[in-house]
């Protein structure tokens, strides 16, 4: 099984330590070691975006990140998007606008969307381009992008 190493990171706001095989992917640390199964594996090659998490606030495909390289960094998963029990405005908008179908891509889309909104991006064309790393096979993206536009207004109004 090879060498095991210690990794400490801030996971959804909480400091956590794990002892893992050196070659473990961040995706597997999250799902198997931390029990956070909201992050999904759709392709294992960084193409579909279902495993997107925030690493120091930036969206990354966790299937392509070595867990060891997240040592000392901050990771936010879909489970960490809610604040005080309330879903993020983008998650709320996805629910309200019908932007969820099978739900397998949804955690990655939620995380990417939150990152896009954190940039203050309000242009719908930029939304579509920035979300193009998250594949969805069900919705045709229309309602997802509508939800993102709606959430952008909510976030902007709150700022």
């Amino acid at each position: 099984m090879g060498k095991r190493i210690a990794v400490t990171l801030t996971l959804n706001g909480e400091r956590r330590s794990f002892e893992i095989p050196a070659g473990r992917r961040l995706l597997d640390l999250l799902r198997d070691d931390a029990g956070l199964t909201g992050t999904k594996e759709g392709c294992g090659a960084g193409e579909c975006g279902a495993c997107t998490v925030l690493l120091d606030g930036r969206p990354v495909t966790s299937c392509l990140v070595l867990a060891a390289s997240a040592d000392g960094h901050e990771v936010v998963t879909v489970e960490g998007l809610a604040r005080d029990g309330a879903l993020h405005p983008f998650q709320e908008a996805l629910v309200a606008r019908g932007g969820v179908q099978c739900g397998f891509c949804t955690p990655g889309i939620a995380v990417s969307g939150v990152a896009i909104l954190a940039r203050g991006e309000r242009d719908p064309q930029a939304h579509a381009r920035l979300l193009s790393g998250n594949l969805c096979r069900c919705t045709g993206y229309t309602k997802v992008l509508e939800a993102l536009a709606e959430a952008a207004e909510v976030v902007h109004a709150a700022d």
Partner: protein
Amino acid sequence: MPRTRRAPRQRPQGTQGGPLGGRHERPDARAKVAGATRFVADLALPGMLHAAPVLAPVASARVLGLDLDDARACEGVEAALTAAHIPGANSVGVIFPDQPLLVTDRVRMVGDRLALVAARTPEAAWHAARLARTDLEALPGVYDPVAALAPDAPRVHESGNLVRTFAVVRGDLERAHGHAAVVVEAEYHIGGQEHAYLEPQGCLAIPEGRERITIVASCQCPFYVQQAVARVLGLSLAAVRVEQAPTGGGFGGKEDYPSELAASAALLAWHTGRPVRFIYPREFDMQASSKRHAVVVRHRWGADRDGRLCFAEVETIMDAGAYIGLSTVVAERANVSAIGPYHVPAVRVTTHVVYTNNLFGGAFRGFGQPQVTWAAEATMDRLAKRLGIDPLELRRRNALDDRRRRLCTGQLMPKPVLARTCLEKAAELAGWKSARSRAHEGEGLRRHGIGIGFVLYGCNLHHGGQRLDRSSAVVILQADGSVVVRVGLTEMGQGNLTAAQTIAAHALGVEPTQVQVWQPDTTTVADSGPTVASRGAHMSGMAILDAVRSLRRRLDPVAAELLGCKPRDVVLARGWARVAGRPRRRVPIAQVAAEMAARRIEAIATGWHRTRARRYDAVTGQGDPYAFYAVACHVARVEVDADLGLVRVEEVAAAHDVGRVIHRAALEGQIQGGIVQGMGWGVTEELKLDRGRLLNPNFTDYLIPTAADAPLIRIAVVESEGAGGPYGAKGVGEPSLIPIAAAVRNAVCDALGVEIDRLPLSPPVIVAALGDRHPFADVAEPDRRERHARSAPTP
């Protein structure tokens, strides 16, 4: 918490202000958006093992030997099994017994399984599987369905390569030929498609000794899985419990194929006595699982001087791959759907299903109809061009309507026939007239075009599958007034939970949030057939309505007693039981439920629905293949980069005849999703094959549409009375995909002024079609142009 704007609720007439046709929150959305939904890969049990298959790397070979010693010696491996370990039948074909779970003597496709490994980690299982030593003697294979029909072609199975031929024979073809002023002949080469559901195939098998077993599977058809596992393990159906896990997309790809995984995991679980999870890596999933069929379609269609169709001859050759799977059933739909929503006096259709050593052809949203529709709509545009008639006008003149509603199968379509309505609405939404006049402006590199795709969709299962066309529901009224619903049809993203919830809530007069629909489990409902053919909402809904009728025979007398009225005067709406005509006399339904519980009255009811038997002659293709039909028309506007051969679909107008809307947001979601998936098939999704091996089994090289590719979609929903579904609803899942690729093809041809006979419309195909019209044709050296032409796949 932020408030979100919602579109106003629209309700159909004649309902009692219930949730029907509204936009209430999907019951599964909140958990999914929080990452709280547990898919099968998220489930683990103590002692659980992981499965991996030993795979054939080539498409055609004789098996000389198999040595599993090295695999068994790997650390963490608990079992390595061959066909000799199968206690029941080594057979997983859903209709025909031509497909073994584990091959013994002959390899027929890349990805055939020779053995199965179970290990303590997925890594160990796949590593051990790769260490298996297989001794294979290469045999000649056949990789083209037309070539496979030649008498001397290598045989995929001993029975020969032609599996079945279906036909439609109607009218006097010779006489009709005499009336035709214009005849179009064409041969279309239409590629297959990968489902690309975001959740890969997966299941979990949990044994109870060797007595019985539970399967939790990502699947569309738990009853198919149940039958396959029972057959392979030699167990009774009652000893196999299949629970559908939340399923991350299906599109037909999780119709029959999950039976193969489930039988594999079940065999390993049965031998080890431990739970076994089997999750496909994406690359293997794309190589091995079923695909939309690649087909060749040959046309000879004729029309008179006024553009009225005189005859249509269609020959379709479908590449089934190495095993039949569902190919014959797909062919039945393709066969009767080959001439579209048009009135044609003389028709000859033949549809051949052919074995090859290619990818496994199977079910995919549309079920053979997208391919034949693509061909039919291409031919209609060719006819329009030859006749000098506007493509919209040509379709107007030939579309079925209330006066001319006899199909090519001889069936008289039920009224109202809404083909003309959908055609006009889509054209109007797209601004057809002004777009047509603008389309050819500018002969620069970026060209614009507009095109139509038009489909007549037979709802639910074809006559050939009508023995499966029944469904089961269970409704339980809880003591607090909430309601549990179980149906035999599955949620895979399309919204079946939402539809079932809406229908149950509407029928029981409670709020949708009071109704919990739980995913199917073969021990709670009876076999309801597959969740396919856009039949989910229809069949679930009809069975739920039957169960509610039965429940109300016990509920209404209790309510009547509390209200002091006759049971027949009890009205249930918006959480209240009321007296008909006296709305102020009311009690909460929750109080009625509590009263029923206090009196120990049976609060569980079962429901059943079966479709009416129909007649159909499979030899002549005459009769009633479907009970009723839905129409859809898509109009696409595209921009084509004529230099690079790149297509951008800018806008799509979609008009859909849906009968009655059950849930408006779910309906729109189906239409939008179907359009984008169908657009991907038509433009970028190409399965590149080399002797049966997929060269692009990943999302880097197999391009499905992204958010940046999504067109603007305008939707016109056409409602009507009288269709056979719950509250008059018709299926929409498949009609939403079928016409779009044809509309895009016609728009691209309109933009470029050339005909294209190949799908997808990849850059090499477009550049080859342009030939001398390519903007830089005159500067390209002749040999480079030839290379361009050759780079498009040749027949």
